[in-house]
Amino acid sequence: MTSLEVAGLAKSFGGVTAVDDVTFSITPGHIHSIIGPNGAGKTTLFNLVAGLYVPTSGTVRLAGQDVTALAPHQRAALGLGRTFQNLQIFFNMSAIENVMVGRHLRRRAGFLGSLFALPSAWADNREARAQAARLMARVGLEAYLDAEADAMPYGALKRLEIARALAAEPSLLMLDEPAAGLNPTETQEIDRLIQSIAADGITVVLVEHDMKLVMGISDHIIVLDHGRLLAQGTPAEVARDPQVVAAYLGGEPA
């Protein structure tokens, strides 16, 4: 049983092929990283898996189920969560409300229940707030509970996105450059956080530039270059792969 399976996936934008015939699978419960130089197609791949882009060809399977034709919110309901390279915070809400949105899939009250404040909506609110507060504490944001999102520092927002994604209780969590723009201390904290998430049994897929982070925590690495799958394997295997060294590691002193 695989957590995520991608077969022959391709996406082109008006003649430019961003992802080209990529096939790989991801086993449950580990930390997987997708690396590659800028423009290798990592974020496009994320967007294809999340369902934000419709692939030109190929299939995506989540936990064995073909989701290629499903909308992003349907994939989310199947246990797929993610964060974004360019922050996608709800800046029109407080920090804790951002995380509470993450509880959307776990709500019981419907639209009318919400409108008329039925007991189910009250219960939802109570439960969501408690869960959100717990998750914010877990990512180290307990000081920001009722802060307005647009007044928070960048590093905190990065962690807020992770807390929000966790609130949906995903089985597969995709993190797009969680350490980008963070200082070394913050990066270390993120490192620990990712490991603890994986320790809870959530499959983590990471896109990251910080090689030290990637090499340190990944169980399995997928290397993309120019939209194509270049190599995959353990950090040690990948680091030894001459193609990878040539294409990526060699080109950038890490």
């Binding site: 934008f13 974020t43 934000l52 974004f84 390279q85 360019n86 996608q88």
Partner: protein, 290 residues
């Protein structure tokens, strides 16, 4: 057949005005990504200012030129005083600002020139020209002729003149334009002035055919917006085609289907285009980056 020709004449005349307003929308949108809901007011200013000047005894040509200049100045003022201070505002806010500005402009004209409606004498008399059984008003020739001249002029300006090229470059990529030393602020001001002038010319040319009043700008603005969207937002030449299509569709619908529903035609058309071709007939598709 002569009826058909008559409707085509009528449609092209009206369409040419929509086109002029539509070009204005496109120019401003290109430079600033603002939809200027005050665009119709430039048309109104053109007509009303010319009427007022002629009433003061100024001959037609100088009166028209001064009216165009006044409209251009209002355009510049709009950019400097209302758009620029709100540069980073959202779409809705900018829409409200331009709507507020249009109310302000109408209010000023209402106070200065009154609320009565006015007319201009036709440029070349009212003797209709007979063409294939249909009649063509000389003023229609002026309107369509002016559109052709302005479009060709605009094309040459964009292709040949360095400043025209700068405007195009800014529309294409603002940051890059800034990096190669284009004064984006000047481009903005010029775009507002230019689109105001186009609107004013439209207003002056139509005033002899229809009537002009302090509030004629509203509907013309909306129709011009239709033209701009139909042509693909941000494409001045698309807007010209969009305007002519809207005008023709209206006239033919009025003639053959129901005059009561001619305005509906334009809006139904725009809805269909938006539903099935969201980037307009001649626009290009963009992709959202995440």
């Amino acid at each position: 057949m002569s009826d058909f020709l008559q409707f085509v004449f009528s449609g092209l005349t009206v369409g040419a005005i929509y086109a002029l307003v539509g070009i204005g929308f496109a120019l401003i949108y290109n430079a600033s990504h603002v939809i200027n809901f005050a665009q119709g007011e430039f048309v109104m200013i053109g007509g009303m200012a010319t009427v007022a000047l002629i009433d003061l005894g100024v001959p037609l040509l100088p009166a028209a030129l001064v009216a165009i200049a006044i409209a251009a100045l209002v355009g510049v003022a709009l950019e400097k005083l209302a758009i620029e201070p709100a540069r980073n505002a959202g779409v809705v806010t900018l829409i409200i600002i331009t709507i507020g500005a249009s109310i302000l402009v109408r209010g000023v004209v209402e106070v200065v020139l009154g609320k009565q409606f006015h007319r201009l004498p036709s440029f070349s008399g009212d003797q209709p020209i007979l063409v294939g059984g249909a009649t063509l008003h000389p003023q229609s020739l002026w309107i369509v002729g002016a559109l052709v001249v302005l479009v060709v002029g605009l094309k040459l300006f964009f292709d040949r003149h360095p400043f025209g090229k700068a405007i195009l470059a800014t529309a294409h990529n603002r940051l890059a334009a800034q990096l190669v030393g284009i004064e984006v602020k000047t481009v903005l001001v010029a775009s507002f002035a230019l689109s105001a002038a186009f609107g004013a010319i439209g207003g002056i040319l139509t005033a002899p055919l229809t009537l002009t009043q302090y509030d004629v700008g509203v509907m013309l603005g909306v129709k011009g917006f239709c033209a701009a969207i139909l042509g693909g937002l941000g494409s001045p030449f698309g807007a010209v085609l969009g305007g002519l299509i809207v005008g023709l569709a209206e006239a033919l619908a009025a003639g053959y289907v129901s005059s009561a529903y001619k305005d509906v035609v334009a809006f139904v058309m725009i809805l269909l285009v938006l539903f099935f071709m969201p980037s307009g007939l001649f626009g290009t598709k963009g992709t959202e980056r995440v």
